[in-house]
Amino acid sequence: MEIPYTLTARPDTGLYNGKLGIWLFLASEVMLFGAIFTAYLFVRLGAEDGTWPDHIQNVALGFTNTVLLICSSITMVWAWVALKERKFNTYRLALGITILLGLGFLCIKGVEYKAKFDHTGVIINEDAMQKKYLPELQKMDAFYGAIPSQHAYEIRGHLHEETKDTLVIMPDPKPKYLIDLEKKENPAAAESGGGEEQPITIDKADIQRWGSLLPKYGTYYAIYFLVTGLHALHIVGGVVVMLYFLTIGSRLYKRNPEQLSNRIEVTGIFWHFVDLVWITVFPILYLT
């Protein structure tokens, strides 16, 4: 039995089967991401002062990924147009570029994740911080943030060494925007900063908790890894499907090119959706 409406539109929906299927799937995806964005909103609003990091992400890498996805959306439509024109080689070229751009996105995402794994955050008791570590950190113009509700301070940096009783951390420098703010508020004091970067030794007895910047470290990191991880899984799914249509799936071109172009159109709709999700994710998680 031949399945109807694989090529032409069904009269009551105005869509062929594949397109109707992908739209219904995307409707469920909207609900999935919608629920996660809602969770983000609640978590963000509930965050105590000092617990939501700012300027923690590499914006240049995030922006590069945005550009890669935007370009891949264009090449995806190019692949579809090439099939409509029955230019098979152009189709393969365009789809190949789209796959490479998708893989590029994943590589950059891997670099960003690695930076989080290699980075360490330390929450230090308020009293100990003020008495023992603050002067040294201020001297070398290192970053530190107060968490009033936990009577603590946070520093972030790279772990040099861990002993039974101490941690040796190379603290992150103060972000440029903070230095600019301080210069504006107190030009004389700001001039005195800018000391040499050096590791700082912290007694474990003064630490509330410490760890890599992974989901268990804080709410921001939990929602960051959840959203970007889920999005990356969608990219992986899209790339796998495109690889299929570049190789085994492209045999359909000989039998029924129109059906292959429909399949590529459907894949393209999914890819656009993944692109739009990223464009929503990038500002809320990176530009904080």
């Binding site: 009551d12 935007i70 024109e85 656009h272």
Partner: protein
Amino acid sequence: MSADPVDHSEEAPHAHDNATEVAHAWEHFHQNWKFFICFFGVVLLTVITWSINFGPKWNVFFVFLTAAMRCGLIAYFMATLFKPFSFVIRTFIFSAIFLAGMIFLSMWDSELRTIGDPIKDRVNVSPESHVP
């Protein structure tokens, strides 16, 4: 299901006019190309405005402006995709209502009247108030 005005000529076999389809595909491509260039511009503008400190009042203004531009572009892009598909529009309207309902129920469940500080406030809710 309500009867939509549909061109039934599509159902006829071999009714494909390939030249028209190719022209339509190119039109679609050009539309997409322009759209994504606009999106690139808006995201670039978002990054630039984020990296400049305009002061508390203007920072908020630019955050809202760029967010509105991104939302507007997404809405425009979706509109260009949905135009001929009434069934899909209905599906998405349902999705939007469903999502709004979920948000409302979440807030109602947490006994909040506004989006405020749900996590903190929830801790303060007395156990008696959860009795149905």
